[in-house]
């Protein structure tokens, strides 16, 4: 029996166990879920967050206006680990997530969960959770998606055809792929600088086709659209290249917003906009590599660091049927919270695994305005296999201060009050000697959970069997 079959069976048993008349949602009224997740797109690029370049983003802004804008949305510091945390609801270190190896099939994703209760599922864009040997058994299909189109790894591979020296294995060429459940991955075309510029448009249009088919079939759908913009090389669709006067990044931002508009327009046209939960958030802070350095707005730093610029990203959410419009909040929310929150929105909290630590919490009551707080007070930040910083309420403690990748400043530890010092400039640990003890306690709680449920080792092969120490 396959793992997906087991997940589906467990969900079925749970559904049958619900007594008649119990609260919950049946298939017809389960909301659709659209999760858009652009790449290396910082806070400062988005109109609703102040757009330093002044490039209009009316479609993204409309999600905020019709729903909620989160001003303290926290993610992991880099592509693969962030996607792992997003889709599993767990710190990536628990899953052993790493770029070269991805995650094991033992991890349960949002797609697997929603698929087990009857959702159609699809991914169009960037995967980056399968490692370098993704094609053998770590494709999106193996993690719960029924179809996908896009790149298995990351956008900089588009440079390989023009700059082979950037490829560790010059014999390889990167491709855009597609695959459907039950089939093998198929090369569609070479992924180069040209196809890089048009991939997100293709993904959006495929997303529309997928939604049309799902609505036609009367099935709720989960559309995961991990856009490849504005990751380097930041080359926008020809419709926008050179059009904004705000450089490649400005053009790419206009491209992103346009594709968001394609999705939103389709939801309206299909008559499902009211009961569709739309989430638009980004995987980590802005691109830091020149010449496509992005903006983190008021925050300091770029992706690949745990400075606020690297881990606090824009996130707007709408669900007209349930989430009141026009609100914003600085309550702490994490990308890990989306899995339990989406599960709650679908009326199926049981699709979140109960046999392992889940770090995400259900923030739906907060989004609905039924609760003034998110319920989350802290977030841990890791780089590689190390704890690097902890945020607790307005305070952030860096155990090993690293304002930019590969840059450390003695004496290493730093404490900031993010309301008094949002730019993380002035270390105040000496004015707050209580802090080290409190943050040590938060870390000890995490360490205690890994004592009981050891982290999956990076590079662990499938099938993975977890160990547990009781």
């Amino acid at each position: 029996m396959s793992r997906r079959t087991i997940v589906a069976a467990v969900a079925l048993v749970a559904a049958l166990a619900v007594p008649a008349g119990a609260p919950g949602q049946t298939a017809p009224d389960r909301p659709n879920v659209v999760l858009m997740f652009p790449d290396n797109l910082g806070w400062g690029e988005v109109g609703a967050y102040g757009s330093v370049r002044g490039v209009p983003t009316p479609n993204i802004d409309s999600i905020a206006a019709q729903g909620m804008r989160l001003d303290n949305f926290n993610v992991e510091f880099s592509c693969t680990v962030s996607r792992s945390a997003l889709l599993t609801g767990r710190y990536a270190i628990r899953a052993g997530a790493a770029q070269p190896t991805g995650i094991t099939l033992w991890e349960v994703t949002i797609a697997e969960g929603l698929g087990s209760i009857g959702y159609s599922t699809a991914l169009f864009g960037k995967w980056h959770l399968g490692g370098s040997n993704w094609i053998e058994h770590r494709t999106p299909i193996d993690q719960g998606f029924e179809e996908w189109y896009g790149i298995p790894n990351t956008s900089n591979e588009a440079q390989w055809t023009t700059t082979p020296s950037l490829n560790r294995n010059p014999a390889d060429t990167s491709y855009i792929w597609e695959q459907k459940s039950g089939g093998s991955p198929r090369k569609v075309k070479v992924f180069d600088l040209q196809s890089r510029a048009t991939l997100d448009r293709e993904s959006a249009l495929r997303g529309v086709d997928f939604m049309e088919r799902s609505v036609g079939a009367g099935k709720p759908f989960f559309l995961y659209l991990p856009m490849t913009q504005v990751h380097f090389p930041t080359l926008a669709h020809p419709d926008f290249a050179g059009k904004t006067g705000a450089g490649d990044l400005g053009d790419a931002m206009a491209d992103v917003d346009y594709n968001v508009g394609i999705i939103l327009e389709a939801l309206t046209r299909l008559g499902v906009d009211r009961n569709t939960l739309v989430l638009w958030c980004t995987d980590n802070g802005p691109e830091g590599r020149r010449p496509w350095r992005g903006s983190a707005g008021p925050w300091r730093g770029f992706y690949n660091s745990v400075m606020e610029g690297g881990i606090r990203t824009p996130c707007v959410i709408r669900w007209p049927a349930r989430i009141p419009r026009g609100r914003s909040s600085s309550e702490i929310v994490s990308e890990m919270d989306l899995f339990p929150t989406i599960a709650a929105a679908a009326g199926a909290p049981e699709i979140v695994p109960a046999d392992r630590p889940i770090d995400g919490i259900d923030v739906l009551p907060f989004l609905e305005g039924k609760r003034s707080t998110s319920g989350r007070e802290s977030v841990l930040y890791f780089t590689g296999r190390q704890v690097r910083a902890v945020k607790w309420r307005d305070w952030k403690f860096h155990y090993s201060f690293q304002p930019e990748p590969r840059v450390s400043e003695p004496p290493l530890m730093r404490l900031f009050n993010l309301r008094a010092d949002p730019h993380e400039d002035s270390d105040v640990k000496d004015a707050n000697p209580w802090a080290i003890g409190l943050f040590d306690q938060l870390l000890a709680e995490f360490a205690s959970s890994t004592d009981r449920f050891p982290n999956v080792p990076s590079g662990a092969p499938d099938p993975y069997t977890p160990t547990r120490r009781d």
């Binding site: 090993s400 010092d421 004015a431």
Partner: protein
């Protein structure tokens, strides 16, 4: 070095606060300007394990900046050090601690906010002990709870000062101890 070993020289000195008045005390010659001796190893995180996560063990440091200027002014010991950069055009932080058992209140700007630091000092032999208390924010502990830091400054040689900084955990949190070495600036 174990916490217990570091605390041993500090604890008996706390009793000195209740001892003879400042005028009767002989103060060790710690006055002058001191620069923290930073070994290369001190600037690198040491990775330890906590559960299954690596943990870069940085340092909390002494809690004071370098260079550090210490002087005696009557019944008080005065400590000064720069906090902001020279570009910021701000005076160094200035603290006074009572040597007569009284607690002196210091109002200093650390970071973007004012901080209230209450402190007193005592000396025994070649060691000066300074105990400070600082209010804990209301989101951490109920009003009135103070965080205590104990510093033992011991002259190892005329030009070498050892400082053991003990941050007492609040509300059951663990205590943090850091030892630093300082060289007299000539």
């Amino acid at each position: 070095m174990s916490i217990r070993r570091l605390l041993v020289p500090v604890l008996p000195l706390c009793a000195a606060f209740a001892a003879a008045p400042a005028s009767a005390q002989r103060h060790p010659p710690v006055e002058g300007t001191w620069e923290e001796v930073v070994e290369e190893a001190d600037t690198r995180p040491i990775v330890a394990q906590r559960g299954d996560a690596g943990f870069p063990v940085g340092t909390m440091g002494s809690g004071w900046g370098s260079p550090l200027t210490i002087s005696w002014q009557g019944a008080r010991i005065v400590v000064e050090y720069p906090f902001f950069s020279s570009y910021d055009l701000q005076a160094p932080l200035h603290f006074e601690f009572g040597l007569d058992g009284s607690e002196v209140e210091n109002d200093v700007t650390i970071g973007a906010s004012r901080s209230r630091v209450l402190g007193r000092a005592a000396s025994v032999g070649d060691t000066v002990v300074i105990v400070t208390r600082q209010p804990v924010p209301p989101e951490v502990a109920p009003a009135g709870v103070m965080a205590e830091v104990r510093r033992a400054l011991t002259l190892l040689a005329p030009d070498t000062l050892r400082m053991v900084t003990t941050r007492v955990g609040v509300r059951g949190a663990p205590t943090n101890v850091v030892e630093t070495t300082w060289a007299r600036r000539r």
